[in-house]
Amino acid sequence: MIFILNVKPVINSENIRDFLISEFKLLETEVNEITVDNENMVMSYEITVRNYPSELQTELCFYLNDNLCLEFELYNDLQLAIKFSDYFFMDVIFSDQSNDPYRWILLNTEKELYIVDEQLEGVNEEGFYIDYKSAQKVSEERVLSVLPSKDYFLIDLKNRPVFYNSDPTWGHENN
């Protein structure tokens, strides 16, 4: 399973490694970047710093096999975002898993959650910037209702469909 988080600052590899070792009680030899050849790897990660001006400068991908997701009870980006935001004390933005590529979920340092849109016009349209005017506050329960859960992981891999958030009411929270 892949977990993808977006954050504003550039974070170095050592910090990500320390975070994973601390949060998942892993050994140093079990965590590393995806390009490192290591037989003992349990969790790998990839840091991509956007090479164009962006508010969200860094994309972080975390790779974990499904059995370990079940063992760690980690089923979606929100669960990892909460751990990440607590550890680094920073806002985290992740996909809402809908087929709208411009819609995201923001978790801020106050532990509040918002559905937000990406800026599509103006000076920032080429980069990854959030349009905060679009923000709709949502509960953790609501976010969890549209993301993968343990049940999804229990579906046999061969029969598991592509997950996407198909809730037609998502993003119309105040209507």
């Binding site: 892949i2 993808i4 590393n32 995806i34 390009t35 490192v36 050849d37 290591n38 790897m41 790998s44 990839e46 991908c61 790779y63 974990l64 096999n65 087929n99 709208d100 590529p101 411009y102 849109d117 599509l120 016009e121 891999l157 592509v162 997950f163 996407y164 037609p168």
Partner: protein
Amino acid sequence: MAPPETLKTDLNSYNNGLFKKGDNGNVIINGNIYGVKNEGKTLYPIKGKDFINLSNGQIKAIQLYKNTPKDKLETVLKNVGIKPEDSNFAKDFVKKH
């Protein structure tokens, strides 16, 4: 994901007003369903006859095939644990596109 030729044709139709309004603010162009944002200035594909639903694994595998140096590719694919079918899909996809 929608094939570039389909997108081009559908965008032309949209710009010429040849579309119908669908549910949830979506539009239907040549039988394909698109989401609309930015007061109609941005479209994104939802469902259509040539559209493909890609999983995160498939998208990531495509990016890795495109961006990873050849000498690192084997290590990277092993470390990320992408399913063999996603990996094969990505390989074919990169060849085709």
